[in-house]
């Protein structure tokens, strides 16, 4: 199995404060990688670096080397908008735009130049189907997306991210704002999606990491402490700190 994203010696500073220290990681293709760790350990920050969403925050400085399919994502000739098309993102709180369900899904394709109605219709239908929400919304595509429930909104956001045909999907605690039933639906969905996409997911919930992920990375105080197959991390952690965390001794 090959790696989609390779990170070498990455550090990140917010002004004077160093939030990420020398992270090295290789993210395997078509699998689910979970980032776990206590609050403020840098896992979300690291996730957002992978599609350069941190560019939006003033005062962030990043060093090291991050390669997506072999290309340096900080190279001068990289179009960050295309990078974000390849590496999509789903956020912690569902954030559909205040427009119709259809327009939400069509937003990405339209951004990247698709304007033909038939083509858009097809993308909208396929994306909603892949995100397992088509049956619930097919009769009200013209209705405002903010009228959906939280869980539906989050699946809509996943559909919206899929509509631009990304290779990688970054998910920043996608279920932390949802109820248990919505959470399990999203988990099922994510397991389906890994056939086609590479998924990197930040989670606060260790059971979730065990349930869905193939690989787990444990972050602590901005360091990547341990990275490996999920079953290994949770059954025989190599590092004392990992063991303490997964057995609930802190965090």
């Amino acid at each position: 199995m090959s790696n989609v994203i390779n990170v070498k010696d990455m550090c990140l500073w917010y002004g004077e404060h160093q939030a990420i220290k020398n992270v090295n990681i290789e993210i395997p293709e078509k699998s689910i990688t979970a980032f776990i760790g206590p609050s403020g350990c840098g896992k979300s920050t690291f996730l957002k670096t992978l599609n350069r969403m941190n560019d939006l925050i003033p005062g962030v400085k990043i060093t090291g080397d991050i390669r997506y399919e072999g290309t340096d994502i900080f190279a001068k000739d990289i179009d960050v908008n295309n990078l974000r098309k390849e590496i999509g993102m789903v956020f912690q709180k569902p954030n559909p735009f205040p427009m119709s369900i259809y327009d939400n899904i069509a937003y990405g394709p339209r951004t990247h130049g698709i304007t033909k109605k038939t083509e858009l219709d097809e993308i909208v239908e396929n994306s909603l189907k892949r995100a397992a929400i088509w049956d619930e919304v097919k009769d009200r595509l013209k209705k405002n997306a903010l009228g959906l429930s939280g869980g539906q909104q989050q699946r809509l956001c996943i559909a919206r991210a899929l509509a631009v045909d990304p290779k990688v999907l970054l998910m920043d605690e996608p279920t932390s704002a949802l109820d248990p039933i919505s959470t399990s639906r999203i988990e099922e969905l994510v397991l389906d999606l890994k056939e086609t996409y590479t998924i990197v997911m930040v989670t606060h919930n260790m059971q979730q990491a065990v349930r869905v992920s193939d690989y787990t990375a444990f972050f602590l105080l901005g360091e990547l402490v341990e990275f490996g197959r999920t079953e290994d991390i949770f059954s025989q952690p190599q590092d004392k700190r990992t063991e303490d965390y997964i057995t609930g001794r802190f965090g």
């Binding site: 599609n51 908008n81 956020f91 954030n95 205040p98």
Partner: protein, 285 residues
Amino acid sequence: MLNRSLSKKRRGYEVLMKALMLLSVGLTAALVLFLLVYVLIEGIPNITWELISTKPSYLTGHIGILPDILNTVCIVIATLLIVLPLGVGAAIYLTEYASNKKVVGIIEYAAETLSGIPSIIYGLVGMLLFSNNMGTSLMAGACTLVIMNLPTIMRTTQESLKTVPQSYREGAFGLGAGKWRVVRTVVLPGCVDGVITGCILSVGRILGESAALLFTAGFAHTMLTFPTGMKSPGATLTVALYVYAKEQGEFGVAFAIAAILMVLTVIINFAATAVQKHFEKRKNI
């Protein structure tokens, strides 16, 4: 145990304070109502179809305020046409693009100050800046009002831009949208209410403005055509009110204009509230 004299004293104090406050609210209400009722009583009988549909003539001594109404409309339109793109553009730049928070702070502070200075100062500056170059004209008046209303439009737009959730922007950037696309498709639709509110407030301010126009737009009561008439002088309703009352002693006409302006102001205030309510409802879906 219970000190009766003290509680009596306290009760007396309570009653006294309540009475004082009642007195002030009574006086306030009386003053406001008196003004409203007085202007309406003096003004409405003088409003005739003939007054608002004809132009005045010094030869026959006839008085009509149609030109003044049209001048007011012209000035409102011209001012909004210039101030909207300027103010909204500046607001978008300051909130969405500008990265130097210090400079943004200085500009916001300057705008705040600008909206507080007396309008006669705008008139003076407008006269030197615009009237001296393009002549005393509706256009010079409109340009002066543009400076005056720029802070209003800019600040209301900015405030409304700040209420657009950051998560919308993140969502759009996450899909690979460029800065301008994010602003145009996600941010601007969310701040339409602010722009409209700013517009309505500005229209109210333009209708009520006289000092700045005395210097710049002149006193002519001639019929002008839009937009070619913009280069000629013309009085707006407020300026006409001043002229009729102060220079011709036509208090009936002055009160008629006053009543018209007052009713317009009430309508504008209602419109501003209605717009805000409408958009609040839409946001809470």
